[in-house]
């Protein structure tokens, strides 16, 4: 991306706040997402949710849905307890972004987007735990945020991005390849800018920036490598972009794997096939959570036999 385009984009991102109003709870929520779940105070979460009437309402609706036993939950507090902090915070983030992006600008099918993001968050975290990466919560957040650039592109370049998605689906190839051709930049770059704009840590910003190509940064950190790998894993296990991609991935031969293994030798002994089955196992839950938050618009997810 050349300097001119970069500064144009930057100006657009700065304007994003006025294009759409970020809910007041977004910033405190991002702070909260960085903490391990046992350090989050229930009261703090309840307070956050209660700020925003529409979000509080949706929380209650979800807690009372059949998925969670159709309890008769009437207070935000009991709703949060019923749902569990883990689920509540990713749900909150999803609801927030739903408010940030006006309905008519959702180029990406929201349920496909959230399945992929939530799936990636979970898998990045599980993988981080498996290799004993010290901050699995950060890994979760990186996974959750990694494709935010899609939302930026939806808002700022709605029609062109729609075209990108159409072409990518038609040719069964990754979106970033088409973005590069049509827009001249990718969601990796716009996502990076948004994360910078929000004041997120450099490590997170870098992970978002190079999640499709870890060779972009000379010293791609473990976080970037983890996100890169779990993005690939999600895409081969029905948690992709919502269309069929043509791909074959030799993860063990991937540069991110090679980089990661140097710092975390535990990766050498990771049973990738078993890990893949674990993803499949977790998928039902991811799909159910996303569907209950964003409505069950179904996307073909063939049953795994």
């Amino acid at each position: 991306m050349n300097a001119k385009l970069q500064s144009q984009l930057q100006a657009q991102i700065d304007k994003l706040d006025s294009v759409s109003t970020a809910p007041a709870i977004l910033m405190p929520l991002l702070d909260m997402l960085r903490l391990p779940s046992d350090r989050i105070k229930l009261e703090k979460v309840v307070e956050l949710i209660s700020y925003d009437g529409s979000i509080a309402g949706q929380c209650l609706r979800l807690a009372n849905s059949p998925l969670f036993g159709r309890r008769q939950t009437e207070t935000v507090r009991s709703a949060v307890m019923a749902l569990g902090l883990e689920r509540v915070r990713s749900m909150l983030f999803g609801l927030c972004m739903n408010e940030v992006i006006p309905r008519d600008k959702w180029v990406f099918a929201p349920d496909a987007f959230w399945r992929h993001s939530l799936g990636c968050a979970l898998i990045t975290q599980r993988m981080a735990e498996r290799i004993e990466y010290p901050e699995p919560e950060k890994a979760y957040l990186a996974g959750l945020l990694h494709d935010l650039g899609f939302l930026v592109n939806s808002v700022l370049y709605t029609e062109k991005f729609r075209e990108c998605l159409r072409l990518a689906a038609e040719e069964h190839i990754p979106i970033h390849v088409i973005e590069e051709q049509v827009l001249g930049f990718t969601h990796c770059e716009t996502g990076q800018m948004l994360c910078e704009h929000w004041g997120l840590s450099k490590e997170l910003v870098d992970a978002v920036h190079c999640h499709h190509d870890v060779s972009l940064l000379p010293n791609a950190g473990p976080l970037a490598c983890l996100v890169h790998l779990s993005d690939l894993l999600c895409r081969v296990r029905y948690l992709g972009y919502g269309y069929d991609e043509i791909m074959g991935v030799d993860l063990g031969g991937d540069a991110a794997w090679q980089t990661l293994i140097r710092a975390y030798p535990a990766l050498e002994n990771m049973d990738l096939v078993r890990f893949t089955f674990d993803i499949d196992g977790a998928m039902e839950q991811i799909v159910a959570t996303v569907d209950s938050v964003f409505g069950a618009r179904t996307i073909a997810a063939p049953a795994t036999s």
Binding site: H172, L232, L233, R235, V236, R237, Y238, G240, D244, E245, I246, M247, G248, V249, D250, L251, G252, G253, D254, A255, D271, L272, V273, R274, T276, F277, D278, D280, G281, A282, E284, Q285, P302, T304, S305
Partner: protein, 303 residues
């Protein structure tokens, strides 16, 4: 192998709560022995399979059943019986569509490109442990459908082998009922089968032509050494009964049976982790395969 699961009420009601830690031990045992894995969320499946065996043995606690599987005198027999429950009669046509997608979209184009330059335009497939023939017949339909498209100008043959003579006989006859055909479209049925009455269809000559059936015991080293020049091997739900050492042996044979650049497919829940490290694991949408890298390709990932 259409086996209906008898839904008779067990005499004793065993405690098969999937949360019981003994099931985690059984899960890991089954995985170590057969390569079949049950994720946390699928433990209930395992526990219900165990429940049937527990009822037959009149064992009530999972912990006690685990002992049967590990310590008692006839643990090998019991393991086998449990494995039979786990892999119960599931074979039918088009059972693994993701494998066929991977073939069509990635694997065959890759192989055709490399082979097209250097050798006869011929592909060899091998279904090892083909049972009653659903798998090779599916593969034959898939390849015949691609004959004028992807495979224009190419010839192919399918070697389909099993140890069990009865199964092979049924496979050669190629007569199937609704169970085996449940995922086969009407168009495919019309094109590749003939009605032989009694609600059964028989593979027609067009479908049978590319398949050659033979009896091969995968433990028979001399026969295994003999198979050469294969492009793709399917060995699904067969090695689950093998112990580690013999599994290793068979997989090493497969490795040398394959041409460089060839692929091995296993059942959808099977793994070669710690069984073999010559093959490279490759993920495709919805499925995985094992790849014999060509010396030139061995360097890095392919996307």
């Amino acid at each position: 192998m259409p086996i209906e699961i008898a839904r008779a009420k067990p005499l004793v009601t065993p405690d098969s709560n999937p949360g019981d830690p003994a099931f985690l031990k059984i899960r890991d045992l089954i995985y170590r022995i057969s390569g079949i894995y049950h994720s946390e969320e699928k433990l209930y499946l395992l526990s219900s399979r165990c429940a049937r065996r527990m009822a037959a043995l009149r064992v009530t606690s999972p912990a006690e059943y685990f002992e049967h599987l590990t310590m008692r005198g006839n643990r090998d027999v019991e393991l086998r019986l449990l494995l039979n429950e786990i892999t119960i009669g599931e074979t039918y046509m088009f059972r693994h569509p993701c494998q066929l997608d991977a073939l069509r979209n990635v694997i065959l184009p890759q192989i055709l490109q490399v082979k097209g330059l250097i050798s006869l335009k011929r592909l060899r497939f091998w279904c090892a442990g083909c049972s009653t023939g659903e798998e090779p017949h599916t593969l034959a339909m898939f390849l015949l459908e691609e004959k004028d498209k992807l495979l224009a100008g190419w010839t192919f043959d399918i070697l389909a082998t099993d140890l069990n003579d009865n199964s092979l006989e049924a496979a050669r006859a190629g007569i199937y009922g609704e169970y085996a055909l449940r995922s086969t479209s009407d168009a495919m049925r019309r094109k590749y089968f003939k009605d032989v009455g009694d609600k059964k269809l028989q593979a027609n000559d067009l479908l049978k032509a590319p398949i050659h059936f033979d009896r091969i015991n995968l433990r028979d080293d001399s026969k295994m050494l003999f198979q050469k020049g294969i492009d793709i091997i399917f060995c699904c739900n067969v090695l689950i009964y093998f112990d580690l050492a013999s599994k290793r042996r068979v997989v090493q044979h497969f490795y040398s049976n394959l041409l460089p650049g060839g692929y091995l497919f296993m059942g959808s829940a099977e793994s070669l982790f710690q069984v073999d490290d010559s093959f490279r694991l490759v993920h495709f949408p919805g499925t995985t395969a094992y790849w014999k890298a060509t010396p030139a390709q061995a360097g890095g990932g392919k996307k």
